[in-house]
């Protein structure tokens, strides 16, 4: 075989994308490690401080609070969204007429901007002039504090029955729960579409065979649908988790003043890093450290779920 001449062509084709990705993805990620080791603000570079930012993080109650709030968000949003979207998709999969109509209706929140949606929902949750309390009033329930309520949802629930819960069992504040509702509502359409695509991939013959064998609907769901849909479940689980960890807009627009309120119960990690980096303290290096912790958490979860995926695939 003759030796080929070096072909510069392919490199020219990938060059534009490569330059952008190097300069605006790889360099920033490397830079964020460096920045987190220095005193670095909008005004310029400072001294090398090593791991000081990270040890400061460990003793920063605001950081732990925002981490806890973020976990609350994920723990509530992901399973609820998963179950609801699977129900929506199963219902849709059982009809013929109006299928695409309903599908489109469910999908509208997905394509609308979080900013506009947050503005609307903030007014919905307004204590005096909001739709939420108005509708509760129609069914005879006393108005709630929603975004202004810092008490935990379990505390409120048990209070209703006259039981006082210890503070650590209170759960997310009602304010954070309002954010949870909006986040679920916004992502439901997308997850439903994904599930529907998954359900449509299951061949009808399985169900027909099960019908002949006399298996009930619930048995069919547990033995056929759920196992065969597991790759989709894995995808929905992973995407929803990653997206929910990065919630920012709804916190920025719906809560406060001050943002993250009441009593810091809606402060999430991405808002906290934004506030540290671009708020009053302008501490870009501390914000970078927070960002990297977030990255580490998401990476660890992704790897963990990848392990899980191997177990659930059929």
């Amino acid at each position: 075989m003759k030796k080929k001449k070096f072909d510069v062509g392919p490199y020219l084709y990938i060059m534009p994308a490569l330059i952008i990705i190097l300069v605006f993805r790889l360099v920033p990620i490397v830079l964020s490690f460096i920045v987190s080791f220095f005193q670095w603000s909008i005004t310029g570079v400072g001294n090398f401080i090593g791991l000081a930012n990270y040890s400061k993080l460990l003793h920063d109650p605001e950081f732990w609070q925002s981490l806890l709030n973020t976990f609350y968000l994920v723990i509530f949003v992901v399973p609820i969204s998963l179950v609801l979207s699977l129900i929506f998709a199963s219902l849709l999969n059982n009809i013929k007429a109006l299928k695409s109509f309903f599908r489109s209706i469910y999908f509208i929140p997905t394509i609308t901007s979080m900013v506009a949606i947050s503005i609307v929902w903030k007014i919905i949750f307004n204590q005096q002039t909001g739709l939420a309390n108005f509708l509760l009033g129609k069914i005879g329930i006393a108005p709630l504090g929603w975004l202004a309520e810092s008490r935990g949802i379990f505390t409120l629930l048990f209070n209703y029955f006259g039981i006082t819960l210890p503070a650590w069992l209170g759960g997310p504040s009602l304010a954070l729960f309002s954010i949870i509702i909006v986040t679920i509502w916004k992502g439901l359409g997308y997850n439903t579409i994904i599930y529907l695509a998954g359900l449509q991939n299951i061949p009808d013959v399985y169900y027909e065979a099960a019908d002949i064998d006399g298996a009930g609907k619930i048995t069919q769901f547990c033995r056929i649908t759920w196992p065969l849909i597991s790759p989709t479940t894995y995808y929905v689980l992973m995407m929803t988790t990653i997206v929910t960890f990065q919630v920012f807009s709804q916190i920025y627009l719906m809560t406060g003043p001050p943002i993250g309120g009441p009593l810091g119960t809606t402060k999430v990690i991405v808002y906290y890093l934004y506030d540290k980096g671009f708020g009053e303290s302008n501490d870009l290096s501390y914000a970078s450290a927070i960002a990297l912790v977030l990255f580490a958490i998401i990476l660890a979860l992704t790897l963990f779920q990848k392990k899980l995926e191997k177990k659930v695939h059929y």
Binding site: G9, P28, I29, V120, I123, Y235, F248, G277
Partner: protein, 325 residues
């Protein structure tokens, strides 16, 4: 089976209502009278309540000025709202109440003019369109190389790209700010456009598509003397229209709705994109519910119209993002 169908439709309708109720309420509140909203009128019907007084000649709308004992002094208004009798004394109990539906369409105009929304729209359209164009160009070129050419480091570079895709946006927000600052690009259109004109997901999507094109087509074209560049334009791209439009849809919606990035990178009010402008507006007009709802409505509208026109394609695009490539 058949007997269950109505139940399914009922449940679907229930779910559907819960998904659209916020939008319906947004629009109906946007056309309400600001006074009614401030009075605590919450429902879905943009109705107004006002006092009326009737005598032999008909029913008139009145404006109560003051009440003394059993009688009130009122201004009597005609249909156009002009005062036809002022300081008219009538017994209070004869003042009735009437509800009338009225759409205050002017709220949209007031909101639109309160801050330069026109400018925000133009900025957003310019940024989104440029980003989409860039994403398609860089994506097609790179995907073509990854799918159809052999070169040293191909796998390495491809995996570098894929691993970059795993990094969430908030993580590179701060260092990107520093990079853009060093380039002198903060507060410029470049800051909104250039970092986004290469999209790894698009490259991945297009690469999958380009791989499916049969090798025979390439061979035949090469025999006919078609160059690599020519094959891309005459064969590869025309055969990949639907995937390219998928990528364009993702790019456009993503760019149109992006918020945190422009919020951080842009300070100059003239360069504000729609989402950032809307966010500032929501702080300035925080107590003016009708205007906030009106602004939210017209901010959502362009994408909603796009969605209604191309819903099949858009939903199929999103659905395909979940299938394993």
């Amino acid at each position: 089976m058949r007997t269950r169908t109505p139940v399914i439709y009922f449940l679907l309708l229930l779910c559907g209502i819960s998904m659209v109720i916020p939008f319906v309420w947004m629009v109906t509140t946007a056309v309400k009278s600001p006074l009614e909203v401030n009075k605590g009128h919450v429902g879905f019907i943009p109705a107004e309540e006002y006092p009326v007084y009737s005598d032999d000649s008909g029913e008139y709308r009145v404006k109560i000025i003051k009440t003394e004992g059993d009688s009130s002094y009122v201004n009597v208004l005609n249909k156009d709202g002009q005062i036809i009798r002022s300081f008219f004394k009538i017994p209070s109990r004869e003042i009735g109440k009437e509800r009338k539906i009225k759409f205050h369409m002017e709220n949209f105009l007031i909101a639109f003019q309160k801050v330069p929304f026109g400018r925000y729209f133009l900025n957003t359209i310019f940024v989104s369109a440029t980003v989409v164009l860039g994403v398609i160009i860089t994506g097609s070129l790179a995907a073509y190389a990854f799918a159809r050419m052999r070169f040293r480091g191909r796998e390495l570079i491809f995996y570098l790209f894929i691993s970059m895709m795993m990094v969430p946006q908030p993580v590179y927000l701060i260092p990107s700010y520093i990079v853009l600052d060093n380039l002198g690009w903060l507060d410029t259109y470049q800051a909104l456009i250039v970092p986004w004109i290469a999209n790894i997901f698009t490259i991945f999507l297009l690469r999958q598509q380009f791989k499916t094109i049969p090798q025979e087509l390439f061979d035949a074209a090469a025999i006919d003397g078609c160059s690599r560049w020519g094959i891309l334009w005459k064969i590869v791209l025309p055969l990949s229209r639907s995937v390219i439009s998928t990528a364009a849809i993702f790019g456009f919606i993503g760019s149109w709705n992006s918020f945190m990035w422009p919020l951080v990178m842009i300070d100059n009010p003239k360069l504000r994109v729609l989402q950032v402008g809307l966010s500032y507006f929501s702080q300035e007009a925080s107590s003016q519910t009708t205007l906030l709802m009106a602004a939210s409505t017209f901010s959502i509208l362009p994408l909603l119209v796009l969605f209604l026109i191309a819903q099949k394609q858009i939903i199929a695009s999103f659905a395909s993002s979940g299938l394993k490539g």
